[in-house]
């Protein structure tokens, strides 16, 4: 279980909300960007099936892409909360896999969980503050959850143990998921000094202290080492 990781990250995500109440030094909104690259270790096949000894045949599922990471600042200035882009996003269930495997959203966002498989799925999470159980539903049906608490939400299918996904819920918009090459970009961060962090399922990386100056773009690279 990933509680050892989840607890400190949760604390960081919550800290963002707490710091938001602190008056920010700059009255005007000057912003810069941060971009960079996250070097990840090779993914291990943690999505292996539980040995299906009671089964009468093979069950096949698509491999899980665990190569992405989320880069985020651990606390944001007050003005970051004025207008959070809370909308709707999809987390599909297809070929007994959640697609995408990793989502990053702001609080208030609603996630739809459509089932595209010919079998029933039961999406659920026991994450503190974001626990839900959508029950069993068939192909063509979708159920939704609105996430109102910052934190990491491990999502599983209660029927198919090899199905897993992560949703990171932030109380500010300054985060990005790395692309297939590991690159990320977080635009329009209010000028100031922050701690930039990486969340990865495959390991951990040291946080970096960054200072964003108005109109500049900062390059920051991370190397995730395997736990």
């Amino acid at each position: 279980m990933r509680r050892g990781l989840i607890v400190p990250v949760l604390a960081c995500l919550a800290a963002a909300t707490a710091l938001a109440a602190t008056p920010y030094a700059r009255a005007d909104f000057k912003a810069g960007n941060v971009r960079g690259h996250v070097q990840q270790p090779a993914a291990t096949p943690r999505d292996a099936h539980r040995p299906s000894v009671t089964g009468l045949g093979q069950t096949a599922h698509a491999p899980i892409d665990r190569s992405h990471a989320v880069v985020y600042i651990d606390a944001a200035p007050r003005q970051a909360f004025d207008a959070l882009p809370a909308g709707r996003v999809r987390l599909d269930q297809r070929n007994q896999t959640f697609e995408p495997h990793l989502l990053a959203i702001t609080v208030g966002t609603t996630v739809d969980f459509p089932n595209d498989d010919p079998i029933f799925h039961n999406v659920m999470s026991l994450a503190r503050g974001n626990a839900f159980d959508l029950g069993r539903y068939p192909r063509g049906r979708s159920r939704s959850v609105r996430f109102d608490t910052p934190g990491i939400v491990p999502v599983v299918c209660d029927i198919h143990a090899h199905m897993s996904a992560y949703i990171l819920v932030f109380s500010h918009p300054f985060f990005a998921i790395t692309d297939d090459e590991g690159r990320f970009a977080i635009p329009n961060i209010p000028a100031g000094t922050y701690t930039l962090k990486v969340w990865s399922e495959l390991g951990s990386a040291d946080a970096k202290r960054i200072t964003i100056a108005d109109g500049t773009t900062l390059d920051v690279d991370f190397e995730v080492s395997q736990r």
């Binding site: 279980m1 509680r3 050892g4 291990t44 096949p45 943690r46 999505d47 292996a48 099936h49 539980r50 040995p51 299906s52 000894v53 009671t54 089964g55 009468l56 045949g57 093979q58 010919p118 029933f120 659920m124 999470s125 026991l126 626990a131 839900f132 159980d133 029950g135 069993r136 539903y137 068939p138 192909r139 491990p154 599983v156 143990a161």
Partner: protein, 402 residues
């Protein structure tokens, strides 16, 4: 009892410590070998008289600790070898499953399994373990020990009637003179040895097997040179409804006993099984039902005797409702009946060959974590025979799996 206590010591683990336990199967670097486990511990009051919950595993299903280790090695995408090693309260270690699974054509949903394989009949038979069973108890049809033994036979119907409600330790004049438990209608804990094939589509599921034993008497080593033929066909509707029919026929009496008691021509020595199962799964509900008609051919040569096979009907309906993410409620109602025979006992009246049993059980479960569950419940049994005819049993269960 110590293993049970040890199991429940896990309950004292703080939640944070429990959360450090793995919740995914362990696999090697390339994912071709995986290891899973289930640890379960159940406690309830002692039952050394009525034996309502004793199993052919020689222990009380409501008072036992069990470790299951399951492994799969897949050297080729279409070929895997699976095994389960089990250790229980009585400290015995058993290779409960060991078989190869082969998918001849990758894009066909068709598999062949050979070795000590899971049963194809019924629905509960493939989910007898903690995680898949919403209650602590096992359905009567799969657990309750009837008075029949494969290694010892009654000489008369009266011998059989004397053993009513004594399935925990029936004894008969022909065959083995050692004490041993009787047979459940279908064994949920031991698997048969042979070969089976399975094909499934979105709406149809077919399975057939040829194995060595009988539904009540799965074997590894040959005991009677008989074969069991079994099969199941099920339809799955998109509404979440599944309905299946099953059938099986196999030799249940050991050859060593039949050699002692020459069987008259036309007298059956086989067990036949005909079953129906249905399941409805939708939202937070699961409702399942199963009914079976089982007959045992039993050669009894001395008067008073009978000619028809002994029959038994068993059925249950169970439901589970999950709420607030971590909680679930489950209940099961069931009945096990037996056909009448007539001897000189009971005033010569027609009497069921074993004592009919009814059972009600309810359980509340709480998930401490995704793969850790605590359950508490109550089971009540009624039996039309035996020294103890009614018994209520509170139960507690701890489950952990990965």
């Amino acid at each position: 009892m110590r293993p049970v206590l040890a199991m429940f010591a896990l309950l004292l683990l703080p939640a944070s410590a429990a959360a450090q336990l793995p919740d995914h199967p362990i696999s090697n670097a390339d994912g071709t070998a995986t290891l899973g486990a289930e640890v379960s511990g159940s406690v309830s009051r002692r039952d050394n008289v009525a034996f309502f919950n004793y199993t052919d595993y020689d222990n009380n299903a409501l008072r036992m600790a069990r470790l299951r280790l399951t492994g799969e090695w897949r050297p080729h995408p279409q070929l895997s070898f699976l095994s389960e090693v089990r250790a229980g309260t009585n400290a015995n270690v058993e290779v409960a499953a060991l078989f190869a699974r082969w998918r001849p054509v990758a894009r066909w949903n068709f598999d062949v399994q050979a070795g000590r394989v899971p049963p194809v009949i019924g629905e509960f038979s493939r989910r007898a373990y903690g995680r898949d069973n919403p209650l602590v108890g096992i359905p009567l049809a799969y657990q309750y020990l009837t008075s029949l033994r494969p290694d010892a036979l009654p000489a008369t119907v009266d011998d059989l009637l004397r053993m009513r409600a004594r399935g925990w330790r029936p004894s008969y004049p022909i065959g083995a003179d050692t004490e041993a438990p009787g047979l459940a209608l279908v064994s949920a804990f031991h698997w048969d040895t042979g070969i089976e094939a399975h094909w499934a589509s979105d709406h149809l599921d077919l399975a057939a097997a040829i194995t060595r034993g009988a539904p009540a008497r799965p074997v590894v080593k040959e005991t009677n040179r008989g074969l069991q033929w079994s099969g199941r066909a099920a339809v799955m509707l998109s509404a979440g409804f599944t309905a299946g029919i099953s059938g099986a026929r196999g030799q249940w009496i050991d050859r060593s006993v039949l050699d002692l008691k020459p069987v008259a021509a036309g007298v059956s020595t086989t067990q036949t099984f005909v079953g129906m199962d249905a399941a409805f799964e939708r939202g937070h509900w699961i409702i399942r039902a199963e009914f079976m008609h089982v007959t045992f051919g039993l050669p009894v040569a001395n008067a008073p005797t009978f000619t028809t096979p002994l029959a038994s009907n068993a059925g249950f309906i169970e439901g589970r409702y999950r709420f607030l993410s971590r909680w679930q409620l489950a209940a099961r109602a069931e009945r096990l009946t037996f056909s009448d025979v007539r001897g000189t006992l009971f005033g010569g009246a027609a009497t069921p060959w074993d004592a009919p049993v009814r059972r009600l059980e309810g359980t509340a479960g709480f998930r401490l974590a995704r793969t850790i569950e605590l359950r508490g419940g109550y089971q009540y049994n009624w039996r039309d025979g035996g020294r103890i005819r009614r018994l209520g049993v509170p139960t507690l269960q701890f489950l952990y799996w990965f």
